[in-house]
Amino acid sequence: MQNAKDTFYLTLRGRLAALNPARTTVVRGVVRPGILVEENELPTIAVLVDAFRLNWTALRVDSVGPLPMVTMECSIRYATDGESGNGGMDRGRLLAGMDAELASALCIPPQTTAKMNYSGASAGVAPIAMGTNVFWADPIFGDAAMVGERLERTATVQVFAHQEAGEL
């Protein structure tokens, strides 16, 4: 399951960075594409705006078949306060831009990629390709919510993968 989560995150990160290279965020002093998995970062109360925050929520395992089929739900939260120079009046347009980027990144065919094992990867050491794929459904976008001057939305996407023998 962890390999599928890692593969999905890095695939989505690559697609979002290609769609809009200007969407970046700074995490511990380093500029990165504007997407992160919250469970992989230091816990913080602060909400990172203008970036996509992934959380893995529901999990279902279907053991019918030669390999168990794992269905995971990825909750993708994003928010914007708008540009301070514009008094935040453009926050609706900025949220619409993030909606479009996420929809494009997730719906670009193919909605599948080879599952990779990153557990042994490091600088100069490539991840290992596994024998099955990770694939995902179209995203479902929730209602936009106003929290003070902040506009935010949560999209959910179901991610599927076969659980290979011996895989964590």
Binding site: D6, Y9, L10, R13, V27, R28, G29, V30, R32, L36, V37, E39, N40, E41, L42, P43, I45, A46, Y118, S119, A121, S122, A123
Partner: protein, 138 residues
């Protein structure tokens, strides 16, 4: 009184009411292009930096059933400015936003918010709200 004078008075007052030292726990900067940190495989190193003088504003913490205990810490602005300068952060708010927590009496408290009190446009003390770990919620 000048801004520098207010800073010195604040430091004297903090020391006079039992100013103590806590440690600000800072994570090392992320490694560029290292996916293992983004995947939670590699974890950053931490360094504990002394912050003094500081005083807990109230002896008793704010306690509510089912919620994490909170404290309010008054921190010398001169100590904060020293750290901001030596670590080359853009501002105190960036320093506190990047900090992992405050280590006080061997307990790591999370930083909820950090605000400054100013005189003549210069901060002389910071009010840092801290939260106990969720594992201690009863």
């Amino acid at each position: 009184m000048s801004a520098g004078g207010a800073l010195r008075v604040a430091d004297v007052l903090l020391r006079a009411v039992g100013g103590r030292t806590v440690m600000l726990r800072m994570p090392a900067p992320a490694v560029p292009a290292d996916v293992t940190e983004q995947l939670g495989i590699a974890t950053p190193a931490f360094q504990d930096l002394p912050l003094a003088p500081v005083v807990y504003r109230k002896a008793r913490a704010t306690v509510a059933a089912g919620k994490a205990t909170r404290w309010e810490l008054l921190v010398s602005a001169s100590a904060v400015m020293t750290l901001v300068g030596s670590l080359a952060y853009a501002s105190a708010s960036v320093l506190f936003a990047n900090a992992f927590g405050v280590l006080s009496d061997d307990e790591l408290l999370e930083i909820v918010s950090a605000t400054e009190e100013q005189v003549f446009g210069q901060p002389y003390v910071y009010r840092v709200v801290l939260r106990a770990p969720l594992a201690q919620v009863t």
